[in-house]
Subunit: 157 residues, 2 copies
């Protein structure tokens, strides 16, 4: 990918929106570092990609590609929820943030969070929220988040 503004190491890790060609660049392998994610066929990937694209700016998935290796090394998503509460307010839900194990220490997670947070703000959200483990609390506090509530879950499978 040609980019005239690319001058140094910093520029080789810019955040962009997910593209359909990112499956071949290890996007699914990266997600596997976060949770169970096996056997996504090209067809399934494309179908879900198009489905999410139909939501436009209401569901954004961003990635960072390592221009050197051509691999996707970080990702995260934000879903814009529309409420009646807060005078028909909107809330950004950040989900599925992961940085490749081999690319830690480059502030890629921070870049992803800033990108998603900026998107939520630009979309008119009054807040952005996410769920994380207690272990990751410190990271998100450095990104300007504060602990609010607890997350409860019920699994069907």
């Amino acid at each position: 990918m040609q980019d005239t503004s690319s001058v140094a190491g910093e520029e080789s890790f810019r955040v962009r929106k997910l593209e359909i060609s990112d499956k071949a660049k290890g996007f699914i392998d990266l997600l596997q570092q976060l949770s169970v994610c096996d056997s996504v066929s090209d067809k399934e990937f494309e179908d879900r990609f198009q489905e999410l694209r139909s939501y436009g700016d209401d569901h954004l998935i961003c990635v960072i590609e390592d221009d050197g290796s051509g691999k996707i090394v970080a990702t995260g998503s934000v879903l814009i929820e529309k409420k009646f509460l807060r005078n028909c307010g909107k809330v950004g839900h950040i989900e599925d943030v992961v940085v490749d194990g081999s690319a830690r220490g480059k502030q890629l997670g921070k870049k992803i969070i800033e990108f998603l947070t900026d998107h939520a703000r630009a979309m008119g959200c009054y807040k952005v929220i996410l769920d994380c483990s207690e272990d990751n609390r410190g990271f998100y506090e450095k990104c300007g988040f504060k602990k609010k509530e607890i997350q409860m879950a019920k699994y069907f499978t």
Copy 2:
């Protein structure tokens, strides 16, 4: 509202989807018991209602109307998130659950949660999640939920 299956008190508190006429039945007043929600005009309400309706089953708001008073006495919503994780899985996000202060002790909250959980399951979600205060943890445990993570938030306003 006529309902031939309506025989006793139990039936006067059934769960149904939000209708556009529910604003006049105190739907916004009910939300005000949960969080800041003032000055929603009829126009704003209708616009948001139509916007949410365009998502179809991917964003469901349910209510319970007290057939005696004609007032909305409980509500909750569930947003279906589509992921690549978990083999292109889906997650239900339960939001904005509130029961009118005068209608407590009738298991209305439990009915709302069951309705939203059943919807998420029917939509093919592998789990349903929500954020709540530590004080409400016991209620959600009775509904079959377990504490998983912590919620972090960043406010813009």
